[in-house]
Symmetry: C2
Subunit: 253 residues, 2 copies
């Protein structure tokens, strides 16, 4: 049985706690949060506390709080010879300001508040200072049914930028597509099968091979027509992305 203490009461902490409670081989022995009310809902299943001096014994202490509070909270923990990890995608391992062994346990997924999370669709980026700790974290993700990857802090920073491109920026393009539809009384639903197909294709095809469209073809006539009907902001984005695609495929526009 792997014993875990969870520190945090936010979105990710909530989903982790729910998962740990229902996972065989894992015992969530305690949840700490500054504000008890945020974790009260777990009090039937788990000991809860808002006092760092009352932390229980465990194999692993997971800090799942705002990025800019990790350093302060970890410095207050006095649990030598224990493994402490944070769950942040953008903070270095060394952000843990502690005499304990350190690690990172970062779930790379977008967590919505009220949606149940399928942890088989949550890859974890793991980092530790030694092999034994790595194996412990890996064992935990296995029990949760999640995949895991060895990703050091430097790689994680790059991965975070890549995630901005494929998640935040992609969602913004959906928003712009939606705006074009709204402005022309076209139901956005009509584009959803295409959107799904675009992401589903990645299962079998490198995105570089899946590229289609006027920029890839170097179809300047269509590009000119499209630019004419776009507002200024969308024109700029259209022009830059078209240029980038054309460059990737050696087309001159």
């Amino acid at each position: 049985m792997i014993k875990i203490v969870l520190l945090g009461g936010g979105n990710v902490a909530h989903h982790l706690a729910t998962k740990f409670i229902s996972t065989e081989g894992i015992e969530l022995v305690q949840i700490y949060n500054r504000t008890l009310s945020n974790i009260l809902k777990f009090s039937d299943n788990v000991a809860i506390t808002n006092n760092l001096k009352e932390l229980k014994e465990a194999d692993l202490y997971i800090i799942s709080i705002s990025d800019n509070e990790i350093s302060t909270l970890s410095s207050k923990l006095n649990i030598p010879n224990k493994l402490i990890v944070h769950t942040s995608g953008s903070m270095n391992l060394s952000e843990l300001n502690s005499i304990s062994r350190k690690g990172v346990f970062y779930p790379l997924q977008s967590f919505s508040k009220d949606t149940k999370i399928d942890f088989s669709e949550v890859p974890f980026c793991l980092e530790t200072e030694n092999d034994e700790d790595f194996k412990l974290l890996q064992k935990i993700t296995n029990k949760m049914g999640s995949s895991s990857y060895k990703i050091d802090s430097e790689q994680r920073e790059k991965l975070h930028v890549a995630a901005v491109f494929v998640n935040n920026f992609v969602n913004h393009l959906y928003t712009l597509g939606n705006e074009i539809c709204d402005e022309n009384n076209i139901p956005f639903d009509i584009l959803k099968p295409l959107i799904n197909e675009t992401s589903n294709k990645l299962a079998d095809l490198h995105p570089c091979k899946a590229q289609t469209g006027p920029a890839k073809r170097g179809d300047t006539k269509t590009i000119e027509n499209h630019l004419k009907i776009l507002s200024k902001n969308k024109q700029e984005i259209y022009t830059l992305l078209t240029k980038s695609i054309a460059n990737s495929y050696g087309k001159k526009l």
Copy 2:
């Protein structure tokens, strides 16, 4: 029984022919193509020809060929009082240069060559000159298990631009994310669950409400750190999309 003659031997024509042959209530009576070899595979099930003078009687003639050949081919057809449609997303209804009744039968989906198409995931954009012809096209899409939308030529042009944003440009962002991963020895697979979640969310959530990330939060420190590690082309794209997101949510960067 609705009788259809299909003109074309390319990708879309191939998928339509395959679907028509297996759809109850539809009879594909003939396929025409300039080059017979491209449609030979259908000859067991359907009459084929490369001679426009031998076109059979049908309720609907579907021209599914390259955009810039639609005008020429349609002008050669001498079938008055018949309905002729094209399947192009970017061509006007009036591109059909014909004495016949005209329409558009545009499947809005990305068709890969060797992949079987699930037509329940293919919305059709329909346009005709009169109601009766519209009902015929709608009846056909119903039989195929596809959804259909009334979209006129002007709307279709806008829709095509929106599709460039949510398909071509999105796929390019996947490519850039993949490049960042490759450059840092990170398996791109780690991002695929996030990519799927980003598109799946649209089923329940307006993309505008689903936006997350540093640009949305106005998190200038993270944005600066990200820009430092990007190459010039990715920096430009990152800057422009970040600005566009920030503007959408009233953040100053």
